[in-house]
């Protein structure tokens, strides 16, 4: 119960803090719009209204990943700058309970991106987004957010020892957009790429939202989101223990 409360309060605190940052909120919302605009222009040229819906939904979910990759990647470095990292690590609560809300908060900023991109597509490009299965969509969106948030948590831990973690987080933006089927069907990518895509929650989240929106079978995709999310959290917790043990042994937490 305490853990849940900590995650809830931590999420709210981090979400408020990120919302106050022009870089992490305003730019995170605006940035995918540039790419969505280009995608809308490109797919509109193709003349197929279905492909425009495909691109619109993909562009909307791209924003969730954008909001997560850079902010989660640099989460620990941010705490270092604030001078709060050592205090958080020394707190009696397990450090992963501090980091999980950060991942979830960064993904939650993606909701702004998603709504803005859908409105952008509707108002400026006249894209009429279908909602064939509203109930499934209502589950698919939080499932996508949670699983991407869990991936954000894993990224935050994995980049803990890297001083310029924001650069790695930023570098991961395009590859995930490309290989998770946001705008490009996986069938177009080389044969060795889809197996990598299947291990990434954004792929399944994207599928779930598309299936729920256009009327398909989103439940298996939603289940995969939860399964992968749980796997990321498990790996992340184990990794947190290992990273903290090494940082304590080498006195290298602050990376000074």
């Amino acid at each position: 119960m305490n853990a849940l409360r900590l995650i809830g309060v931590g999420w709210l605190f981090q979400f408020k803090q990120l919302s106050r940052s022009a870089f992490d909120s305003f730019l995170a919302v605006l940035w995918p719009l540039f790419f969505a605009t280009i995608a809308f222009f490109m797919f509109r040229q193709g003349g197929d209204p279905d492909s425009l819906i495909y691109a619109g939904l993909g562009a909307a979910v791209m924003g969730i990943w954008t909001a997560t990759s850079v902010a989660a990647g640099s989460a620990l470095q941010r705490e270092r700058w604030y001078g709060t990292l050592e205090i958080l690590v020394a707190a009696p609560a397990h450090f992963s309970l501090i980091l999980i809300p950060i991942g979830l908060a960064t993904a939650s900023i993606g909701v702004y991106c998603m709504v803005t991109t859908l409105l952008w597509g509707r108002v400026l490009f006249g894209i009429d987004f279908p909602v064939e299965e509203p109930l499934a969509l209502a589950v698919a969106i939080p499932a996508t957010l949670l699983s991407i948030g869990a991936l954000g948590f894993l990224i935050a831990v994995a980049f803990a020892r890297y001083r310029y973690s924001w650069a790695l987080g930023s570098m991961m933006e395009y590859p995930i957009w490309l290989i998770c089927g946001f705008l490009v069907p996986l069938t177009l990518l080389p044969d060795w790429v889809p197996p990598i895509s299947w291990s990434l929650a954004p792929t399944w989240g994207m599928n779930a939202i598309r299936e729920a929106s256009t009327g398909g079978t989103p439940l298996p995709d939603i289940a995969m989101c939860f399964a992968l999310g749980a796997a990321y959290v498990t790996i992340g917790v184990l990794l947190t223990n290992s990273v903290l043990r090494a940082a304590r042994a080498n006195a290298s937490l602050s990376l000074t």
């Binding site: 022009a22 719009l33 540039f34 222009f41 490109m42 193709g46 570098m171 395009y174």
Partner: protein
């Protein structure tokens, strides 16, 4: 002689000190890997939408990506000094401003051109795009002019950094506009009229058009008009940027607001 020293030595030291991305741990992910994936992303979207050839996206995105080093490094001329609390010391010095600011632009142009050239090379290899070897020297000229032109725009963002706190947000937004408006991914003819008009006065638009013609086998002389326009746009931005820098500097002194933001 002092001006020349400020231009050359001052410019180089400032670039090394202020452009933090020069560390390999930032440079490689941000300026080597990221442009390649931007090229791949749009080339595959192009394939998915059944539009232009891979060459269209390789050339367009490689040149457009020079915006990241050019805009960010130029903005750091002011933003970095402000962050390190050395801006006041720089601006109180009697150093002539022309070599002071333009000297800092030269390494930025060279670095921007390198990033674009590397992205072009990597993109052509990965996607198997065929660009004639004879076009390489001409493409190098176009890339250099494109980097110069965008650095001119960067001088404006440098000036705005005297007023704006969130320079990273500002430069990212400009990058996004350049991605849409310069024809890097959308053929200019497919843009609405007002957007085409905006494109005409932006860095990269003419350079990208010239580079595409060169990649298709055109000669350098046949694209000289495009290169000339790109150069002119860069010069106009540079003059505007320098004037803005001087204006905001004077305003900052008058109102004691240099370090306010």
């Amino acid at each position: 002689m002092t001006s020349l020293r400020i231009f050359a030595v001052g410019g180089l030291i400032s670039f090394r000190a202020l452009f933090h991305w020069l560390a390999p741990s930032i440079y490689i992910p941000s300026l080597v890997v990221a442009p390649l994936f931007q090229i791949l992303l749009f080339a595959y979207i192009g394939r998915s939408a059944g539009l232009a050839s891979d060459e269209f996206y390789v050339v367009g995105n490689a040149i457009q990506y020079a915006a990241i080093p050019c805009l960010f490094a130029m903005t750091n001329i002011v933003g970095g000094e402000k962050f390190q609390q050395t801006l006041g010391a720089i601006l109180v010095s009697p150093a002539p401003r022309l070599p002071l600011f333009f000297g800092r632009a030269v390494p930025v142009v060279v670095n921007g051109a390198f990033v674009a050239a590397f992205a072009l090379l990597a993109g052509t290899i990965v996607l198997g795009v065929d660009i004639p070897a004879s076009a390489i020297p001409s493409l190098a000229v176009v890339i250099l002019v494109a980097a110069f032109s965008c650095t001119g725009l960067g001088l404006i963002t440098a000036a705005l950094a005297l007023r704006v706190r969130e320079t990273a947000v500002l430069t990212n937004i400009l990058f996004g506009f350049l991605l849409i408006f310069t024809g890097a991914n959308i053929p200019l003819d497919d843009l609405p009229g007002w957007m085409q008009n905006v494109s005409d006065v932006l860095p990269f638009t003419h350079a990208i058009a010239a580079a595409r013609e060169l990649a298709d086998g055109a000669s350098l002389t046949s694209v000289l008009d495009l290169i000339g326009e790109e150069l002119l746009i860069g010069l106009v931005y540079a003059v505007l940027g320098y004037s803005l820098l001087r204006f905001f500097e004077i305003q900052g002194r008058r109102h004691a607001t240099l370090d306010r933001s």
